[in-house]
């Protein structure tokens, strides 16, 4: 069942699927992402319903800063790519490469999060506080839920990195890396919709 070989040479090409536990984890995580789709879908619906209700506050068009969003998008997209590289390194049993790419992913994610915090702070100074209007509440909730997912992902990848460092790549750590990769892509996909629906459409009017 769960044999815990520490010898890298014996790892199969896809160590994440070597054990039943690993396969369960992956199946379950896919399902979880299906649920997350509904979660974000509902948040988007709430945002779209309420985005016209700006009351006395700034409108989306006045608020959003293009360069900032473009930069954030670039960061997150790239981090998605680097997480793919991490997985590829894993499949070659290249632990160094794996950890390296994970760290790059971590840094890019952290930069994204930093940017988002800066952005929120900036908006608050413009009078766009959480409680200002239905638009602001739904905006912060949608984008904030995404940001919280990023933050959680960062903590998670740190934990995985520590485990990789201590225990190396094996059939317990591999599924974790793989599942994290799925999670990270999912976050990226959600962001695609956020920049489209929130920022770009907000700019259009």
């Amino acid at each position: 069942m769960s044999s815990h070989s520490h010898v890298e040479g014996q790892l199969p090409h896809e160590p994440e699927r070597a054990t039943l536990e690993g396969r369960n984890k992956i199946t379950g995580f896919w399902l979880f992402l299906g649920g997350e789709t509904v979660l974000f879908g509902t948040l988007f619906a709430a945002y779209l319903t309420l985005r016209g209700q700006v009351m006395d506050g700034p409108t989306p068009n006045e608020l959003f800063d293009f360069a900032l969003v473009a930069l954030a998008t670039a960061l997150l997209l790239t981090s998605s790519l680097t997480s793919v590289f991490a997985l590829q390194a894993m499949h070659k049993h290249n632990v160094k490469g794996l950890m390296g790419w994970l760290i790059v992913t971590l840094l890019l994610g952290a930069a994204f999060l930093g940017l988002e915090i800066y952005e929120f702070n900036h908006y608050v100074h413009l009078g766009h506080t959480f409680a200002a209007s239905a638009f602001s509440t739904s905006f912060y909730t949608l984008v904030g839920f995404h940001g919280a997912h990023v933050a959680f992902g960062l903590l998670w990848v740190i934990l995985i990195l520590l485990q990789l460092k201590k225990r190396g790549l094996n059939t317990t750590t591999a599924p974790k890396v793989y599942v994290f990769g799925m999670y990270w892509h999912f976050i990226d996909v959600v962001w695609v919709f956020i920049f489209t629906v929130v920022y770009l459409m907000g700019k259009v009017g």
Binding site: W30, T37, T78, V84
Partner: protein, 107 residues
């Protein structure tokens, strides 16, 4: 056009350090960036019919998601039946419920 610069520079970054066998991922990435760029450009261009832009934006986003899911999340590979069912069901729920609800709350 700071945004575009930002993105292209990232792309060249990546190319120099690409590991072996990752060509299709790079292509997917370039494709993503391109799609994103078009979306941004469309909005920046202004002066276009807003309904058209809305539709285009959504189409672009959907294509992009499709690309990422297929390549990066391996959904096109075999053994992903339940992955596809899960995500697809989620999408169906979102489309039927969420979009319809939206329709009746806003219009």
């Amino acid at each position: 056009m700071a945004a575009a610069n930002e993105q292209t520079s990232h792309r060249s970054d990546v190319k120099t350090t690409k590991p072996e066998g990752s060509k299709k991922h790079i292509i997917a990435f370039v494709f993503s960036i391109l799609l994103t760029f078009i979306a941004f450009a469309l909005v920046m261009a202004g002066e276009i019919n807003t309904d058209f832009i809305y539709i285009m934006l959504v189409v672009l986003a959907i294509i992009q998601v499709f690309v990422q899911m297929a390549f990066w999340m391996h959904m096109k590979d075999k053994g992903h039946t339940f992955a596809i069912i899960a995500i697809l069901s989620g999408v169906v729920v979102v489309f039927t419920c969420v979009i319809m609800a939206l329709f009746w709350t806003t219009w």
